[in-house]
Amino acid sequence: MAKVLKVLVPAAIVAAGLAWVLTAPSSVAEDAFVDPEGGEVDRGETVFNAAGCASCHAAPGATGDDKLVLAGGQSFPSPFGAFTAPNISPDPEHGIGDWTLQDLANALLHGVSPEGAHYFPAFPYTSYAKMGDRDITDLYAYLQTLPASDTPSQAHEVGFPFNIRRSLGGWKMLFFDESWVMDGNDLGADLTRGRYLVEALGHCGECHTPRNTLGGLDRSRWMAGAPDPSGKGTIPGLTPDQLSWSATDIAYYLESGFTPEFDSAGGHMAAVIENTAKLSAEDRAAIAAYVKALPAAETADTGS
């Protein structure tokens, strides 16, 4: 027995130490994203709209220009608990006004806070990790121009064990995959842009792709549709076996909110369309091209 313990205890210590190292938050290189100069506000606004920041970070029920006050407070129910979007307005105390460009880059690319804590993936850094450097610099410039709000951020309502931030390091090891789902370097300009808008900024897969029991995206059923994380209803699949809309239909839906049957978009998609309506016609066409290029889902089962 003593002999066994002699082996097991050091093994456990090594394993714990290894786990501690492996779950450590990563960050961008020390000399990366050090110069916010040159960030273009206009381009940043497009990044902001394409990434849908306001849809989650505006105050609950905000409309019109109030959507640009990123006070936070909206609650997002999930099987793991309810996540509350924080204040990301330029207020230095309650928002992110004291963040450096590097802080923003670490949040978007690594899902890590300035204090070095892991963010919950309700903040879709799993998608934003594919953002281009210039877009992050431009977004940083744009965010500075928005009104500050002194509304304090509220805590998430997440139970044990999901409330242990360090455990998210393990989650990231398992499910944080930064590679493109639609593979290939010769997609052409339109599809490459569409892929960037869908997989990175638009983070469409975060809702339209089913998740496993630990909340990791099932990339083998990319965009195959999924149960709504709130527990009520389903989010439709976009694969060609499930969506017969033409590219024109898709682009027009993203512009006007009208389906081909001229019903109006509802639920969270209505908020998405408020953003896509502000994009250029070329960008909406690029998103449509990407959706039309999706392969059929491996199984018809949309995950229940």
């Binding site: 009520k232 209803g233 024109t248 027009y252 006007s256 909110g257 009208f258 049957e261 001229f262 019903d263 109006s264 978009a265 509802g266 639920g267 209505a270």
Partner: protein, 151 residues
């Protein structure tokens, strides 16, 4: 005995529910018919806006007039209490409509205003279609967000 009473009571409640569903069948048909008149005519305008069909000022104006006519139905009168989607299969109307007729009428009037604008403008050229569709779509969305059960 107690068991039998429970079963009978449950059956009575269930059949009662079914009677309610029958009672408002025609209102639901009328509501959805009104929506379809609007949807099909939006399709005419939208086809031209998308460039899928050639612009035709006369056809566009007729479509707008049909939407306007539908918007003149006193829509709230088709939503009596108990005719909502929680009580009736096939309906997606929220039960909150009956208790908030003022709000419901306001949203419906906004559709009327957008339809009036459509009638006045869609005949003037293709460039009018975008803003008109935007206004009509805004009215649809605003009411659906508040008073329709999400699917």
């Amino acid at each position: 005995m107690k068991k039998i009473v429970t079963v009978l009571a449950a059956a009575a409640i269930l059949s009662g529910g079914a009677t309610v569903a029958q009672e408002y069948k025609n209102q639901i048909k009328a509501r959805q018919g009104t929506m379809w008149v609007i949807a099909l005519n939006l399709g005419t305008l939208g086809g031209m806006a998308k460039g899928e069909t050639e612009y035709d000022a006369e056809a566009a104006t007729m479509a707008a007039e049909s939407i306007q006519a539908a918007s003149n139905v006193h829509f709230a009168s088709l939503f009596p209490e108990g005719s909502d989607g929680e009580m009736n299969e096939g309906s997606t109307a929220k039960p909150t409509i009956a208790g908030d007729l003022a709000g419901f009428n306001e949203k419906w009037a906004a559709l009327g205003a957008a339809a009036d604008k459509a009638v006045a403008e869609v005949g003037t050229g293709t460039e009018a279609l975008g803003p008109v569709m935007g206004a009509l779509g805004g009215a649809c969305k605003s009411c659906h967000e508040t008073y329709r059960i999400p699917q």
